[in-house]
């Protein structure tokens, strides 16, 4: 598809959320959204402030994925977890730096930036947030 050029790759625009877990929080109902939003998806309010998610959360549950999707052939099996951040925001993402046996509902996790995949044709290395147990 598109070769890298002076234009930034589409991934570049994603960095506030996928590197730093930044987004918009509704002033009215408190719901957090990834990225900048104009309208709260829960309550419809247009009063949103920029915010950042807390730096720890807890595991709700997880699955070990054995069927790879494209770009993850070399990274499967992998663990995908459902994480509740300390402010109550629910997130899903890869769990890293541990074996599935070390995890259970309630395990305390922290976000870390890791390599997600290598993008097909441009061979761009895509980084983003994963979660690891706090030791």
């Amino acid at each position: 598809m598109r070769e890298l050029s002076s234009r930034p790759p589409a991934n570049w625009r994603s960095r506030p959320f996928v590197y730093r877990l930044e987004g918009s929080r509704c002033v009215v109902c408190g719901h957090f959204h990834p990225y900048k939003r104009l309208v709260c998806r829960r309550c419809g309010s247009k009063r949103l402030d920029q915010d950042k998610l807390p730096s720890t959360g807890r595991l709700v549950n997880y699955t070990v994925v054995t069927q790879a999707q494209q770009g993850f052939e070399n990274n499967t099996p992998h663990i995908v977890g459902w994480v509740e951040m300390d402010d109550g925001t629910q997130l899903i993402g890869h769990i890293t730096d541990c074996e599935p046996e070390e995890l259970k509902p309630g395990t305390v996790l922290e976000p870390v930036v890791r390599r997600i995949r290598v993008d097909g044709e441009a061979k761009l290395i895509v980084y983003g947030v994963k979660f690891k147990p706090v030791v």
Partner: protein, 384 residues
């Protein structure tokens, strides 16, 4: 709402190596036109999701019009992920009920065999947000597994109870000539198949495949002149929900589907309990109980236990997936909603042969995009 359906046509779901996407579209479209005796329509709608990615083909409406010799007809494509087929039927109903069109041809077609299995997993994940779930490498398959785990935990049932739904689907597809998988499977086979994302086994998921289905939606005036078989579409509803299930107040609650179901049933003037059979959207086994519960067919947490008691089997009180649904008939993604509508049409016109639900007068068709981010529901009834 009273739209008339005629000319229902399905191709066998398969890996059609020798047929292109235009071939599939044309074959199903022509079959529908020929069997209804209609030679011209006001609009053709194509339901398709991945033509742009897998075949690098956009503008499928005009392509189909050309293939069918319908040069000049209004033509466009409708895309709403896995629910594209039902969204196209919805668009057709809008056109006919507004008086803008007398006859609309809806053709759903998808050709997944141009991609690999890994690509298919990624393609299905395109229904999810690419700036979040897709970016972070979470497949829809993994999300379905997380919902499955939560469901089993909350309602204190076993994984085997959820894994029973594919058994029902294959039971029905074993005698369906247009189904991809014309054989039965046992619960043991399902739970002994490898995990794709535990607790989800391979045989609790679909393998996206090739297929096309078509149906005509016509006005009351024109319906008098078209050939049998015909049936009625008396209710239709659509609703969206938040894109990611885990962003909803309760990830196990498909509010969009509940709303779409309510709208369709209210329009038809019936209750969920009046429905004789249902065609569900269950690319992952867990979506079957979640759907039945959102539609008010089963109480929360009860659907799996009722399934094991036979309530949803072909001979049961509320048969589901009468030709095998997504699991047994196969999952040509964008076409699946049209398949389900034609299957209900076949039931209501006594053309279901070995899969006939005796005395079926009212059928409900459900179609979803993603894990409920868009839902379409249609109520079809027998002509009296």
């Amino acid at each position: 709402m009273k739209a008339f359906l005629c000319g229902g046509a399905v191709l066998k779901v398969d890996e059609h190596w020798d047929k292109s996407l235009p071939n599939l579209l044309a074959e199903a479209g022509l079959k529908a036109l020929d069997s209804s005796g209609i030679s011209y329509v006001d609009h053709v709608y194509v339901a398709n999701v991945y033509g742009e990615v897998l075949q690098e083909q956009a503008n499928l409406g005009s392509l189909l019009a050309e293939e069918l010799g319908l040069r000049g007809v209004a033509a466009s494509r409708v895309e709403a992920g896995g629910a594209s087929g039902l969204a196209a039927v919805y668009a057709g109903c809008l056109a006919v009920s507004s008086g803008l069109a007398n006859a609309v041809l809806v053709v759903g077609a998808e050709k997944m065999s141009d991609g690999t299995v890994e690509e298919a997993v990624s393609l299905l994940t395109m229904e999810e947000r690419q700036d979040y779930v897709g970016y972070l490498g979470v497949s829809q398959l993994a999300e379905a597994a997380l919902l499955y785990k939560e469901y089993v935990k909350r309602y204190r049932i076993s994984n085997d109870d959820v894994a029973y739904f594919p058994v029902i689907s294959h039971e029905n597809s074993s005698t369906a000539p247009h189904a991809q998988y014309q054989f039965k499977i046992s619960l043991e086979t399902v739970i002994n198949s490898p995990y794709v994302a535990e607790p989800l086994h391979r045989l609790e998921t679909t393998s996206p495949s090739d297929g096309a289905a078509a149906i005509l939606i016509v006005s009351q005036e024109l319906a008098r002149r078209v050939k049998e078989p015909k049936c009625l579409l008396t209710g239709i509803g659509s609703a969206s929900d938040l894109m990611t299930a885990f962003d909803r107040e309760d990830p196990l609650e498909m509010r969009g589907l509940a709303d779409a179901g309510k709208r369709a049933l209210e329009m038809a003037g019936i209750k969920a309990s009046d429905v004789d059979f249902l065609e569900l959207h269950d690319p992952y086994s867990i979506l079957a109980p979640l759907s039945l519960e959102a539609l008010g067919i089963a109480e929360k947490g009860q659907a799996c236990l009722q399934a094991r008691k036979g309530r949803f089997s072909l001979s049961g009180e509320k048969p589901i997936n009468t030709f095998g649904g997504l699991k047994g008939r196969g999952y040509p993604v964008g076409a699946s909603g049209v398949y389900a509508v034609v299957e209900a049409f076949m039931q209501l016109t006594d053309n279901a042969s070995k899969n006939q639900v005796p005395g079926a007068d009212v059928g409900l068709v459900e179609s979803l995009s993603g894990l409920g981010s868009y839902a379409g529901v249609a109520v079809l009834e027998r002509m009296r």
